[in-house]
């Protein structure tokens, strides 16, 4: 529900990393989103397409890696991937579980083009 501010953070991080690397254009931003992070990728995409305008990420695509929610049963130690948001062990049926994956929300990498002058200097 707070995808607007999340998207702004994504863009800020990407632009800063690009600047640090003397990049003049961002082609792709790869982010990792857990299913239980509360973030809806479609909504981030929608915000991103508006917010990137006028920046060096203007033509960038967003690449989402979705991490499924995983819970570990405290009774039988079995790891399940709940299909819906009801968290329970799919082996013994217990609801006594710890969430071990699915809360991820991070920017993994960006693909960018370096400024020509900087590229020549470093080669």
């Amino acid at each position: 529900m707070h995808e607007l501010s999340i998207t702004q953070d994504i863009l800020n991080i990407a632009l800063q990393e690009a600047k640090n690397a003397h990049a003049c254009k961002i082609n792709k931003i790869s982010i990792v989103v857990g299913q239980a992070s509360g973030i809806v990728p479609d909504s981030v995409q929608f915000c991103f397409d508006e917010m990137k305008k006028g920046s060096i990420a203007n033509e960038a695509s967003l690449d989402f890696t979705i991490v499924p929610t995983q819970v570990k049963c405290r009774r039988c130690q079995h790891v399940s991937s709940p299909k819906d948001i009801i968290w329970m062990c799919d082996k013994c049926g217990s609801g006594e579980v710890d969430i071990i994956a699915g809360r991820e929300l991070y920017l993994n990498s960006i693909e960018a083009e370096q400024e020509e002058a900087y590229e020549n200097r470093s080669s």
Binding site: A21, G38, I99, L105, I110
Partner: protein, 217 residues
């Protein structure tokens, strides 16, 4: 070229939250982040808590709402320092908003700061503010299935207040089922069954809060 980043998207918030927490600790202020759906009774719980504890400790309040000063006005009547944050359309409080609000609070004269987050069971849990404890308020009319539908907010919480227990006789609310659903995902959580209308259970909740705020002294 590919640039490896691997950076938490909420890092900017986390950095400010850590600064907030350091400042709170420096002034020996215990901070409670109170989250619930709209209408569960956050403001009532804050007012009733303050009435019971204000002779024992100095209490401050930060009120978060999309619009209006309605809640801040209620708190002011109790003669407590209060800052109202209006987020416009924002669905949660973040650490930056708290860092600004703190500047308008007399931190050296506050022992316990109660932060009322935006009424929402989804977004507020993603944003740490610099708090020491997280408290969820659920209320009987909302039904006993909230922990099943909105599990994440309960995962990082320290306590759950179940408010409006005076309405139990009129509504189907299975208290055991509610508690079991919460304990399944967070076995260490504390429960307080209260009614801000009758006052039931509030002393027990206030004892927990007093112990939590003495933690650092």
């Amino acid at each position: 070229m590919k640039i490896e980043v691997v950076k938490n998207i909420l890092d900017a918030n986390a950095v400010i939250a850590q600064k907030n927490k350091s400042l709170f600790d420096q002034h020996h202020v215990t901070v409670i982040n109170i989250m619930s759906s709209p209408g569960a009774g956050k403001t009532s719980a804050i007012l009733e808590t303050a009435r019971r504890l204000k002779d024992k400790m100095k209490i401050g309040v930060i009120e978060g709402d999309l619009a209006s000063q309605v809640d801040a006005e209620k708190v002011k009547k109790e003669h407590l320092p209060v800052v109202q944050i209006n987020t416009g359309s924002g669905c949660h409080l973040d650490a930056n908003m708290i860092s600004h609000a703190m500047q308008n609070l007399p931190l050296k004269d506050i022992d316990l700061l109660l932060i009322e987050n935006i009424g929402n069971l989804v977004c507020p849990s993603a944003y740490i503010l610099g708090e020491h404890k997280r408290v969820i308020i659920s209320s009987v009319p909302e039904g006993d299935d909230k922990p099943l539908k909105y599990p994440i907010i309960f995962v990082d919480a320290d306590a759950v207040i179940i408010n409006k227990v005076d309405l139990k006789a009129y509504l189907k609310f299975d208290m055991d089922a509610f508690k079991k659903a919460v304990k399944n995902i967070n076995p260490k959580i504390s429960f307080f069954e209260v009614s801000c209308t009758t006052g039931a259970g509030l002393d027990e909740w206030c004892s927990w809060l007093t112990a939590a705020s003495k933690r650092k002294s």
